[in-house]
Amino acid sequence: MKNLISMRDLSADKILQLLALAESLEKDPTQLDLSRRVMAAVFYEASTRTRMSFESAMKRLGGEVIAMVGTSGTSVEKGETLADTTKVIARYSDIIVIRHPLEGAARYVSEQVSIPVVNAGDGANQHPTQSLLDLYTIQKAQGTLEGLKLALVGDLKYGRTVHSLAYALAQFNPEFFFVSPKSLSMPIHILNDLSRMGVKFKEKTKLNKIVDDIDIMYVTRIQRERFPDREEYEKVKNAYIITADLLKNAKDNLKVMHPLPRVNEITTDVDSTKYAYYFDQAENGIYMRQAILATLLGEVK
């Protein structure tokens, strides 16, 4: 594995290898030493959380970090091409982690430079480290990825995270409930793909009837700007708010996940229940990103 650009490039075997390494690094972070290795965080748009997670992952393995955050005041503003900018940064570092608003940017950069490239989000396209940390989180919470019942809740139309997660889990025999307002439902081409892969799923507009039946509830934010008129937004916004009361008869092993930041879609009274797992999910991102960085830097036998 030279780069991590898209979940489409990863076989089930490779995914399981990365999960196993993340688990091993969580138990014993001293087994690897990335000192004198430099990670360049090249962020064409702000994403504090993802960048800090990568930086922490690298630093906790002893590595160094350099960063470009936003394009203001950089050579990009002077009109430099993406190819030139990253070719120069590749001379300063051992691995590039790139976030870019345009789709396919990370793939293009990986073709331009000779060091490994990690896609930390390319517009609405891919965010494979998020998908992998979600898989790691699910496996850690449930002990397996196989045969789980999952509800994906919220904005399923524009949510890159849930699309990617649906595909990534498809090879592990899941049963999905896609819960969203009609206007934000899972795109038809994704449903078609899942049917072709033999994946079981049901589309729902209400959450309450399925809550007691699921192992994982993956919640995403419904953004007001997705709605053409304010009235429609007001109508649906409260239908997908997760409260401790909603979860009162949930299965013991249910875990609630959220890529964060949340606004009001999970109330804070859920935080102190055994179901809350979103902060663990954020922490898991560190171990997963360590596994990815170490693998691409050739530090794993």
Binding site: A83, L102, E103, G104, A105, N125
Partner: protein
């Protein structure tokens, strides 16, 4: 009865037949004949298989399979004959290549290929070339909605 030729036969060169009617100019735009090439263009000829078809004859230039494949997306059933001294010496059909590089533009305005000085690259989704997937933004498009470079 003597057969009447609507277009002069060529001595040496290439004939591209069975182009869908109305697409001859787009085919020529892709093949980009040199300024001095003698080119004959026929439109709306009657055809048993296609009812109406377009045809191109290029005098003095032999196209190779690679050049011809570049028209496959808009003339998938085209047949190519290489002519030497008024005789057909070689015949082949166009084939849609597995990877289509630098030929069509990605319709996704947020695709990196529309922002950087770079070639586009698409893979076939349907074997006949009716659907292509962008190797950068990973979206799938039907060929009808795509513009040529």
């Amino acid at each position: 009865m003597m057969k009447v030729m609507k277009v002069d036969a060529i001595r040496n060169g290439t004939v591209i037949d069975h182009i869908p009617a109305g697409r001859v100019q787009r085919v020529l735009a892709i093949l980009k004949p040199r300024g001095t090439d003698v080119v004959m263009m026929g439109m709306n000829f009657s055809s048993k298989a296609m009812r109406k078809k377009d045809i191109i004859k290029i005098e003095g230039r032999e196209l190779n399979q690679h050049e011809v494949n570049s028209i496959a997306l808009i003339a998938p059933d085209a047949k190519v004959s290489i002519i030497r001294d008024f005789n057909v010496t070689q015949k082949f059909k166009v084939e849609v290549p597995e990877v289509i590089e630098g030929l069509v533009l990605c319709p996704n305005p947020k695709c990196i290929t529309n922002a950087e000085p770079m070639l586009t690259r698409f893979a076939l989704v349907e074997a006949n070339g009716s659907k292509l997937s962008c190797q950068y933004c990973e979206r799938v498009f039907s060929t009808d909605e795509m513009d040529h470079v």
